[in-house]
């Protein structure tokens, strides 16, 4: 019974934890511009994050070593440092976007400018990290994030022509004034939003925080294989709402307000309240995950003591890294840069940085020295290698497409 509860809780947490500011913004934006014509990318991305997270979760459960510890070990000091810098910068950029997202949600609810909310949001993130137990923060914000299911219900309430949505989903390609270049660019953005690297750093380090061993493989797998795909369905619902409400009238999504409006149109003030609470939980939860991931990656690369399973003073450098990252986020947001724009760039850079951390995990998941019986099977390796190809392709194409499309204009 207790075990079943743990599994259910893990799955629910994974669903709520999957969606962050990147998924919210990118899915709504793409839904408004292309309808469901890029829905297949969400499916491809979800399968990818399942493969990637399952491998790193399994490696943690068997070897007890989290992702960045192993990345340095396999890539060596120099290449490892390159992977660290790239992954860290992307994670920091995501953290900035998430804190901006929390502040924007408060701005929408209160009408008070987000720049005033932002230092408060960053401070609250730090306080929770400093004081709250790991399992609590993961569960509370994961469960609250489930409120975003309101998007799925809103889509149904908006009463779309389902046949039309299916038709869009099955006929990929640009429409109207869009070009193949913008279509591909947003494809990469969606892919990066679904497969953001920090999700895996957090997931694998969380495995150590919660002291996983071989017996936890069932929990780990059910979280990944049920939780993430259901989270992916939430993403599709967000895109669907935008496709129904915005595509026909030529609205392009550029603000968080536009992302939340469909719930209000469908359910009125209650819908808006639920969606704002859901957005707050999803972005605040992701802000916790990304700041922890900033600390995890650096501390694990250098072999420092890290983690919330020890008291803060025992992992002092780890905590200092997170404090510095939060201060940096405040400083960047103070320049009044648009957090939604930051989000749009962060998902593309996420797609670019992915192969650097994916490859070492694939290598280690195949190493009998570590994994023994639990190493990758043939079928899994086939898909893992296909995804390695896809990741490389997206990574190489990202910059040229960004230049050609002037970042998707």
């Amino acid at each position: 019974m207790k075990r079943l509860f743990a599994v259910t809780l893990g799955i629910l947490t994974a669903i709520g934890g999957f969606v962050d500011i990147g998924d919210l913004v990118t899915n709504a934006l793409v839904g408004a511009r292309f309808g469901m014509r890029l829905a297949w990318v969400v499916v491809v991305g979800v399968i990818g994050i399942c493969l990637y997270a399952e491998m790193s979760g399994r490696v943690v459960a068997v070897s007890g070593r989290p992702v960045f510890d192993l990345i340095r070990e396999r890539l060596g000091r120099r290449t490892g440092l390159f992977a660290l810098i790239a992954s860290f910068l992307v994670t920091l950029l995501t953290l900035i976007a998430e804190i901006g997202g929390v502040a924007l949600a408060f701005e929408l609810a209160s009408g008070v400018n987000y720049l005033l909310w932002m230092p408060l949001a960053a401070f609250a993130v730090w306080l929770v990290i400093w004081r709250v137990k790991f399992s609590h923060l993961e569960q509370v914000f994961g469960l609250l994030g489930l409120l975003l299911i309101v998007f799925a219900v809103a889509l149904w309430k908006l009463g779309p022509d389902w046949g039309d949505l299916v038709q869009q989903a099955t006929s990929p390609g640009p429409i109207g004034h869009e070009t193949w270049a913008t279509y591909a660019y947003y494809g990469i953005a969606l892919f990066g939003a679904a497969m953001t690297p920090y999700e895996v750093f957090f997931f694998s380090s969380g495995g150590v925080e919660e002291k996983w061993d071989r017996r936890d493989l069932v929990t780990e797998r059910s979280n990944v294989f049920i939780g993430f795909p259901l989270g992916g369905l939430l993403s599709l619902a967000i895109a669907g709402c935008a496709a129904v409400l915005y595509l026909p009238i030529g609205v392009q999504v550029e603000t968080l307000g536009q992302v939340t409006l469909p719930a209000a149109v469908a359910f009125g003030k209650l819908g808006l309240a639920i969606v704002l609470l859901g957005v707050f939980a999803a972005t605040f939860g992701a802000a916790l995950e990304t700041s922890l991931s900033c600390g995890y990656t650096i501390a694990q690369y250098f072999g420092w003591q890290w983690g919330k399973f020890v008291r803060p003073r025992q992992a002092s450098r780890f905590h200092v890294v997170m404090i510095i990252c939060l201060i940096l986020s405040i400083l960047v947001l103070m320049t009044a840069v648009d957090p939604v724009k930051v989000t749009e760039y962060s998902v593309v850079f996420a797609a670019m940085a992915l192969p650097l951390t994916y490859l070492p995990i694939l290598i280690i998941a195949n190493d009998p020295d570590y994994m023994g019986e639990q190493k990758n099977g043939r079928v899994l390796n086939f898909f893992a290698l296909v995804y390695l190809g896809l990741l490389l392709l997206a990574s190489i194409a990202a910059i040229p497409l960004m230049i050609v499309t002037r970042a998707g204009r």
Partner: protein, 150 residues
């Protein structure tokens, strides 16, 4: 093989950006028209968003604060579209005409949304209702202008 593929990728993207670059800086008349049309489409987005937010406010579906934030955001976006377009320099008579046409339409839309923001902020729902109806025409006009070029 791998190197050749990479080289192909680089060349292809260079060629592509060159073509797109040339398309942008070819005929000044055509260029003004396509920039104007693109700005008009962006303006449609702002006008329709403001309209949708205001309608939701009228229908009691959102409370005043989010409505204000959304309309203000739309106003800012429209202002930016209009300023960016206005900064262009028409080089021929024809492009001058195109410039004036689009510039006026954009300014018109920006003003309309500014009026809407003022009404929403002051809670004057009757004016909001009138402005929402008016903005319909503005959006339709912009939509037509937006379809004149790719």
């Amino acid at each position: 093989m791998r190197r050749r593929l990479a080289a192909f990728g680089v060349t292809a993207s260079l060629v592509l950006s060159l073509i797109l670059g040339l398309a942008g800086c070819g005929d000044p008349d055509q260029q003004m028209l396509s920039e104007g049309a693109r700005s008009a489409r962006e303006a449609v987005s702002g006008v329709r968003t403001a309209q949708l937010a205001a309608q939701s406010l009228l229908g009691g579906r959102i409370w005043a604060q989010p409505a204000t934030v959304m309309v203000t955001d739309a106003e800012d976006a429209l202002g930016q579209v209009a300023t960016t377009f206005d900064a262009r320099q028409p080089e021929t008579d024809e492009s001058r005409q195109t410039y004036d046409l689009y510039s006026e339409a954009l300014a018109n839309a920006a003003d309309g949304v500014t009026d809407l923001r003022i009404a929403v902020r002051s809670g004057d729902l009757e004016t909001v209702r009138q402005l929402v109806a008016q903005l319909d025409k503005t959006a339709e006009q912009l939509e037509q202008l937006g379809e004149r070029a790719q």
